[in-house]
């Protein structure tokens, strides 16, 4: 909706592109109205740019939590694996989990999703 409003304002602004210069005689009521509309446009455009800069790509709302789950689980598995005897399946789960976490982080970065520092527990098993 806001984009539409801005687009409409931009169209309007094109029609009033010639701003009064310093030597221009006093503005008429219509010109003052147009000037106000132009100021509104500038303000709305600034707000739009701010919101756009802060916006997260929509996929990230789904991608980031899954990535975080994967990495949190991998970290926990590796902590458990460290307490297991060598050669148990937990060590393999740790190695696999770390790899999947790394891949998930890379995939989410490729999508421009906000990164969350994930610290995998140091592990002797992978």
């Amino acid at each position: 909706m806001k984009r539409l409003a801005i687009a409409l304002l931009l169209v309007g602004a094109c029609a009033v592109a010639e701003r009064p210069g310093p030597t221009t005689p006093a503005a008429t009521a219509d010109e003052q109205e147009l000037a106000r509309a132009y100021d509104d446009l500038r303000r709305a455009d600034g707000e739009f740019r701010t919101v756009q800069a802060q916006a997260t790509p929509p996929d990230c709302a789904r991608i980031a939590p899954l990535r975080d789950n994967i990495c949190a689980l991998a970290a926990r598995i590796c902590q458990l694996a460290d307490r297991q005897p060598p050669g148990t399946p937990a060590a393999d789960h740790c190695t696999d989990g770390k790899a999947r976490c790394q891949a998930a982080v890379e995939a989410s970065e490729a999508r421009g999703c906000p990164t969350k520092k994930v610290l995998l527990a140091p592990s002797h098993s992978g």
Binding site: D59, I63, I70, A81
Partner: protein, 173 residues
């Protein structure tokens, strides 16, 4: 103990997913009422937990799993709502220091059917936590890994969907 926060978060996401999925289909009145009642009971459980009344929260959740479900409710919806409820009950068991009861709730939930979705992943995570509480690290790691694999499949699906949804390079919007 792993991620009490994350597991709770997963539950919320999972239930919302089930309800959103349900809304996409035409529903019989009975189905909609049952799902709305389940949602109300989950909200009530949240309130009771905030007030520190775990017994009342459990009571609210038990009303979902003990009640009758509409006969023509789509099986996936029924499974999702009930599995999410068993997940929360198992969490309460764990918080109460009763991992065996948590395992029982998880088994009831998983007994409703398997799928590569967050409902099953949640149950696996809480079962892993129960195993941890019983000092069975190997079983916990196996459950956590199974949950991780499901999350990874869901991530792959999400990435694929977003690729499919993007316009081809050079395509006009």
């Amino acid at each position: 103990m792993i991620a009490r926060g994350p597991t709770r978060w997963l539950g919320v996401v999972a239930l919302l997913g089930a309800l959103a999925g349900g809304c996409a289909r035409a529903r019989h009145d009975g189905d909609a009422r049952w799902i709305a009642d389940a949602e109300r009971r989950h909200a009530l459980a949240d309130q009771q937990l905030q007030a520190g009344n775990v017994a009342a929260a459990r009571e609210a959740l038990l009303g979902i799993v003990d009640g009758r479900t509409p006969a023509d409710l789509p099986a996936g919806d029924r499974r999702g709502v009930l599995q999410d409820t068993y997940f929360r009950l198992a969490e309460l068991d764990l918080k109460a220091g009763d991992p065996r009861a948590a395992l029982t709730d998880v088994q009831r939930g998983l007994g409703l059917g398997g799928a590569d979705d967050l409902f099953v992943a949640n149950l696996l995570v809480v079962r892993g936590a129960a195993h941890e509480a019983m000092d069975d690290g190997a079983a916990a790691a196996a459950d956590y890994h199974a949950a991780l694999v499901i999350n990874d499949k869901l991530l792959a699906e999400t990435l694929q969907e977003s690729r499919d949804a993007r316009p081809a390079p050079g395509a006009t919007p």
